[in-house]
Amino acid sequence: MGDALHVALLLADATVRVATPLVLAAFAALYSERAGVVDIGLEGKMLAGAFFAAAVASSTGNPWLGLGAAVAASVALALVHGFACITHKGNQVVSGMAINILVAGLAPTLAYAWFRQGGQTPLLPGEARLPQIHLPGVEALSGIPLLGPVYRELIDDANVLIWLTVLLVVATHWVFTRSRFGLRLRAVGENPSAVDTAGLSVTRLRYQAVIITGVLTGIAGAYLSTAHGAGFVRDMTAGKGYLALAALIFGKWRPWPTLFACLLFAFTDAVQVRLQGVPLPVVGVIPVQFIQMLPYVLTVLLLAGFVGRAVAPRASGVPYVKER
């Protein structure tokens, strides 16, 4: 019994840690796509964030400066995307893809130029990483069955960015349902003409959305290299940007279902890690490559079969051009 609880807690803990960057990226895309700007460049922005966070944290020893640099780099890329797609009405998929390719090459190149460590940043010491938050009362609660272990393993010593992400989810729900900004954002993704004729600026709203996307992907990148990991490694996003997009579609562009999708993907990843090398009944030990496929296979299956008709925001991907 205690053992099962322990395994469950370890799985839950791993799930949360893997889910955090996914949630940040998926919610980043939520803002952008609900405003009508498709963002396939999450991957690139996250990778840029990861690199700049690690590089600045490594140089200055201050993870918060790293986080700031990550956000700045990611927002800069988001603005490039906005300039191409909003101001010049370019193709959003092409622009996003260009950003991904650019960063995939640029980050390791810069890393090599600055640190001479084969396209990586040096391993970060503990104080150059974003801190975990130690909560009071772990000892006091440890005697209580269930609550004690849950508190100790899952809630205590969570990274500061995990708490920030929790806050983000709740805040996003509030923004989308209760706030003026959310109403306008949703409107501009459905029918920008309605927004324009209501006397609001489509361009301004979409830029605001894209900037939020940049901020959140920057944080997601910083999490990867300075919270979850301890330095930048090339291609360290490993498709998480695309996975986040899949989660967004699976969640039908709504906050709570998107969160659920991220947690599901993260959970399969956590399970996959635990299953590696473990003999299973009937089939025995499965080669590790097959186990590692799990989250991706699940993504394909979910998107192909179980989502049903996912209705994207109607103006998503369409540059706004005034009718004559």
Binding site: S179, R180, R186, E190, A194
Partner: protein, 516 residues
């Protein structure tokens, strides 16, 4: 021709010498008009006359290239819809500017939320909207998503949006195009109520009847210019039509009584499903004889489109029988296709000429042989005979007065009326025994309408059978020898055109009354 008396009060809305260019197209040329306060003012003109453009400029949706706008006698700078709303100008666009998944309340609130959060604004808007609904007959369920509302109700939402923002001048662009006669009546009652409360209404339309029925004054535009400002009471439909087109126009189609021959098309128990699997035609039976035009009237979306497409071989049948000249078509499914039917002498002028009737990126001469591209007349041994194509198209353009007369111009570059003439020429010049026609004059200028109507009647007089589907009641009544009314996938009655007054047809189209 300025016969409007100078009012005491400065005009609620005035434009002076407004110019607008779209590329090389001079869409507005020194447009000056004045709308007296508390009146309903019509702006009438053909497509492309610039009437929507001038109102877009007034609403700040398009920037002007010169000229000035005055509200209550004071010059105003309107650079965006926000500026227009601030000086009390509201607009109901032809294509509604609504967010379908939003509720009515959210749509009204958008851009006028009254705070960073929504709660307070929502409560205030709800109270205000209930008052407006009571005062002007603008009833609508505030908590329904607008996408679920009928178009008449969506339009009321647009009016509510403008009024909630404090509009004193309300501009409506082609407001009746999508409405049933009953909905149109309702709208007109609302507009008259607005006038009684001192609001000023500007209505853009190309429908002469509405101008005569509703407006106090009318501005006529042609080719970007104002050609007349007149008091409605001192003019007539004929005079307005002549002003719009620049020449005399016959508003009624001259035609002799039909002399129907044998049945060409016989349909029984026809059932058709749409792309989503919903049954849209629910057991329709009808007969079209040689030498007659049978018109199908109905509010759009009641299955007429699917009926026409099924008969043209574009949509599979879910049941029923179709006989052409006595021969059962469903017995030979390989011939009951768009291609097979052409070979059997069926012409089809589709409802949507841009998407179905033409390939807008193709040259006119290529569009003129769509569906007949296999004809040996246009084909050499290996390549198409471009010369034959060109000559054929040029001849058709002459016969149908297509302008500009350039077979090499892409179809997209022709106006709506000329595109339609290209399609009509293609279908009618193949001498079909049966012509299926959908919305032949949708978005077509009044001068071209006259031409198209005459052509259709001429084809009938040659002894051809014509099945006409149109949402324009005037058109159905003018052309048809028999009128069938369709509602909810069924034919609910047949009316002779001389008995078909608008009220009765309207009630049948709304599913309220059966044929007497």
């Amino acid at each position: 021709m300025k016969t409007t008396p100078m009012p005491q009060h400065p005009p609620a809305l005035e434009t002076r010498g407004v110019n607008k260019w779209f590329g090389a197209n001079h869409a507005n040329r020194d447009v000056s008009l004045a709308v007296p306060k508390g009146t309903i003012h019509g702006v009438i003109g053909e497509n492309g006359a610039g009437k929507s453009t001038i109102m877009s400029i007034v609403y700040g949706y398009q920037p002007a290239d010169g000229g000035s706008i005055l509200v209550d006698g004071r010059p105003v700078a309107v650079r965006s819809p926000r500026d227009a709303l601030a000086v009390g100008i509201g607009m109901v666009h032809q294509h509604f500017m609504l967010v379908d998944p939003f509720t009515v309340l959210e749509n009204v609130l958008l851009g006028a939320e009254g705070g960073v959060t929504l709660a307070a604004g929502m409560a205030r808007a709800r109270a205000e909207l209930i008052r407006l609904a009571r005062d002007y007959g603008l009833e609508v369920d505030l908590d329904r998503p607008v996408g679920e509302l009928p178009v008449g109700a969506q339009q009321r939402v647009e009016i509510l949006k403008a009024l909630y923002r404090g509009a004193d001048i309300l501009i409506l662009d082609e407001p009746t195009g999508v409405l049933t006669p009953q909905e149109t009546d309702h709208l007109f009652r609302i507009l008259r109520a607005l006038r009684e409360q001192g609001k000023t209404v500007v209505i853009i339309t190309h429908k002469l009847r509405e101008i005569m029925e509703l407006t106090d004054n009318v501005t006529v535009m042609r080719r970007g210019q104002v050609v007349a400002n007149v008091a409605t009471a001192r003019t007539s439909r004929e005079q307005l039509a002549e002003l719009m087109v620049g020449r005399k126009v016959l508003l009624r189609v001259e035609k002799a009584p039909a002399t129907p021959g044998p049945a060409v098309l016989e349909v029984a128990g026809l059932r058709v499903r749409d792309g989503a699997g919903v049954e849209r035609v629910k057991g329709v039976g009808l007969t079209v004889h040689a030498g007659e035009i049978v018109g199908i009237a109905g509010v759009s979306g009641n299955g007429q489109s699917e009926l026409l497409e099924a008969l043209a071989g574009m949509r599979p049948l879910a049941g029923g029988s179709v006989r052409l000249r006595g021969e059962e078509l469903t017995a030979t499914p390989d011939r009951f296709t768009a291609r097979g039917l052409r070979a059997l002498g069926v012409g089809h002028v589709p409802e949507d000429r841009q998407r179905v009737g033409l390939v807008t990126g193709f040259e006119a001469q290529e569009c003129a042989i769509l569906g007949h591209h296999g004809d040996p007349a246009f084909n050499g041994r290996l390549l198409m005979d471009r010369r034959a194509l060109f000559d054929r198209c040029a001849a058709e353009m002459d016969a149908y007065d297509v302008r500009p007369r350039d077979p090499r111009l892409p179809a997209a570059n022709f106006s709506g009326g000329n595109q339609q003439k290209i399609v009509l020429a293609r279908e009618m010049e193949r001498n079909p025994d049966l012509l299926l026609v959908g919305q032949p004059t949708r978005g077509v200028d009044i001068g071209a309408i006259e031409f198209i109507h005459r052509r259709l009647v001429a084809l009938r007089d040659q002894g051809k059978a014509i099945l006409l589907v149109s949402v324009e009641l005037d058109e159905i009544r003018a052309l048809s020898d028999r009128i069938l009314v369709m509602f909810d996938g069924r034919l609910v009655g047949e009316v002779a055109p001389d008995e078909a007054d608008e009220r009765r047809l309207g009630l049948m189209m709304a599913g309220v009354a059966e044929a007497a």
